[in-house]
Symmetry: none
Amino acid sequence: MQAKNSTGKQTGSRRPAGPSFTETGRRAQIVAAAIEVIAELGYHRASFAKIAERAGLSSTGMISYHFDGRDDLMREVVTEVLRLAEGYLRPRIEAHESYSARLRASIEGNLDLFAEYPEHLAAITEILGNLRGGEPGMVAFRDTTEAHLAVQVEQLRKAQRAGEFREFDPWVMMRAIRAAIDDVVRRATHDPELDVRAAGRELADLFERATRNA
Amino acid sequence: MQAKNSTGKQTGSRRPAGPSFTETGRRAQIVAAAIEVIAELGYHRASFAKIAERAGLSSTGMISYHFDGRDDLMREVVTEVLRLAEGYLRPRIEAHESYSARLRASIEGNLDLFAEYPEHLAAITEILGNLRGGEPGMVAFRDTTEAHLAVQVEQLRKAQRAGEFREFDPWVMMRAIRAAIDDVVRRATHDPELDVRAAGRELADLFERATRNA
Amino acid sequence: MQAKNSTGKQTGSRRPAGPSFTETGRRAQIVAAAIEVIAELGYHRASFAKIAERAGLSSTGMISYHFDGRDDLMREVVTEVLRLAEGYLRPRIEAHESYSARLRASIEGNLDLFAEYPEHLAAITEILGNLRGGEPGMVAFRDTTEAHLAVQVEQLRKAQRAGEFREFDPWVMMRAIRAAIDDVVRRATHDPELDVRAAGRELADLFERATRNA
Amino acid sequence: MQAKNSTGKQTGSRRPAGPSFTETGRRAQIVAAAIEVIAELGYHRASFAKIAERAGLSSTGMISYHFDGRDDLMREVVTEVLRLAEGYLRPRIEAHESYSARLRASIEGNLDLFAEYPEHLAAITEILGNLRGGEPGMVAFRDTTEAHLAVQVEQLRKAQRAGEFREFDPWVMMRAIRAAIDDVVRRATHDPELDVRAAGRELADLFERATRNA
DNA sequence: CATGAATGAGGTTTCATTCAT
DNA sequence: GATGAATGAAACCTCATTCAT
């Protein structure tokens, strides 16, 4: 009835266990508040107190009631944002045939998504950017992120084998793409002037030149 | 002569005012310890207590005595690292004539520098990556960083005017380069397996293709 | 009809008032769970949350509903254990004629009882051992325990008057016996190696020598 | 420079490490306050807040500053009381030759000590009585207590070999003695009427009859 | 300069209780 | 009866800062 985290320590929110994809209202509300606060103040300044206040809760105890600690809440935030991003990006990417068009759709799509949900992307960027190696309970979680990247790396490899992309280290390329996108997100979060869609087009151009075979 | 920290509270170190480039031994020692701790634990976990411990100081009071708060210490850390980086990179870059060779020297040089001073680069990456907009006292500081970038952006522009580089938004390009390098630094800090010099060559290739005119 | 808990605050369970010996199923279930948890974790660590979990209840509210607070639950636990102990020990003691045989039966019986119901005895030992003077609502309760002891003290006195036991302070003797038994219980609870029946025989021998007249 | 507790977790009071037997003034003062509060309220109710208040400190942070957590403070309390008890009891016990006289001196001495330092004995009884198996950091500590007992058990054994004491399980005997003394302490702590010295003489008589060979 | 002590704020977590459904 | 949600207090701990010595 109680969850154990990766250290085996009994932590246990009193909340009845249930599938994480059917969020109760309160949980979803707390996650939403967390996203706002993280986007605004950053990962480390997003305390339970601030999140509770944003969520209209009278005490931080309520968050501990619904989540098995900070890490659990952060996991939920990332899960939520990944769900949103997947739903948004997948159709936009799959609408294209060529690998190069898909790469462009992916880059521009990410920044279009940011333009529509700036706080969601800011939050996930904050969380993943502050994730460290040693934190138990977040390890399996970082693996998830890694797996996401691996899928895209595989796409790059396929494009190379198909002769559409030239030779390069697909991991380095993928990381560079990801880093460039995240950098725009980070910057745009604090600079409303920045035209993220234009930046997206520029980045798409940049990486098209860096990858194409011709 | 007295700074205000991020809380707006008047704090004022009792340290005799003086030019920042004549570091006393203690200050330098604290900055060195801070670099180690930040590299190891990250920006937010690098508390005065941990830094004092690393520096062999028996109390955190010494740090407050020498620095006008956390921000001031962080500024000093960045200043120190920038000084080191400048001395290391400038000759390596200026050894080349063509803009493309200089760009390559810059990228590979950064990662060579990391290979030699991993903690210094890890620390500055941590600090700048966690810099937020609202913090007074860090604003002028962010401007400094921005100015550094601007210099390099100007180089890109010159290369474009010289016809050596093609058309692209030099700011976006420069940020993408910086983000890619920092990403390698971040990752390598927690993964000793990663071959940073190889990654440097890959990134140099990548951005050469993205910038060259031909 | 409503009790006051130790804070003096009016709390009042909504449970229909009734004689305590006709336990509803739920109450008995909660008491049983409490016994397990107290035996395992100790008096103070036995929170409503842990007890509810053990009882298969989804919320601690149920416990507050059935009991007028923690003290009330604890009272019920002790009452339950005393009932069990009485049923187990009385026949074993009354099977003997001589006072010395009865004393031995009492000591050994207690530890036999522990061997059969380790959690029950561990729980009552924990509760009574952590009972403090000041707690209103537990005062009458401590008196009950005291009365139990007084009955046994009276037996010692009778044995003395009958010339079977020698002169000694019967209260001190009775307390020493009780303390020795409880000590074995406490230790055995956390050390499964300990042979409680052997310890029971040793204690019976010890106190026989200490009490007999010859 | 920082201590590690038994779990290897970095806990670290900022206080400079030093030999525990030369207490600084504040540490000793906190220990004294802790003894008072534990004696009065019991182990679990003795919160840092109450101890700080008693010690005239404005915040609990000060206690965390001087001690590596609650366990560390409790360890120090026990160490202090053991030191006091040793100084008080050793000469009184060693003043006697025969084992039986020494046993009597030990029992009566413990209760004389209680009469003079009621809070000290109440505190140690509370702490040791609430010590559980699972608590890391207190394990080595329980071993210390066990070692203390073992020394006394060895004395019992010697007396048996010398023919002065009869046959019995010395561990069971020693525990019964200890339990009886502690019971008097516990009771007397909340009942000022109780004549502990008289109880001491009674217990000494009791265990003399239980141990002597004749 | 340096130290150790002190402070007060803020962090997460657990607790028993209450309440609407 | 039973549940899940909410509350506010209290717990321990860490932090950056200040200050007397």
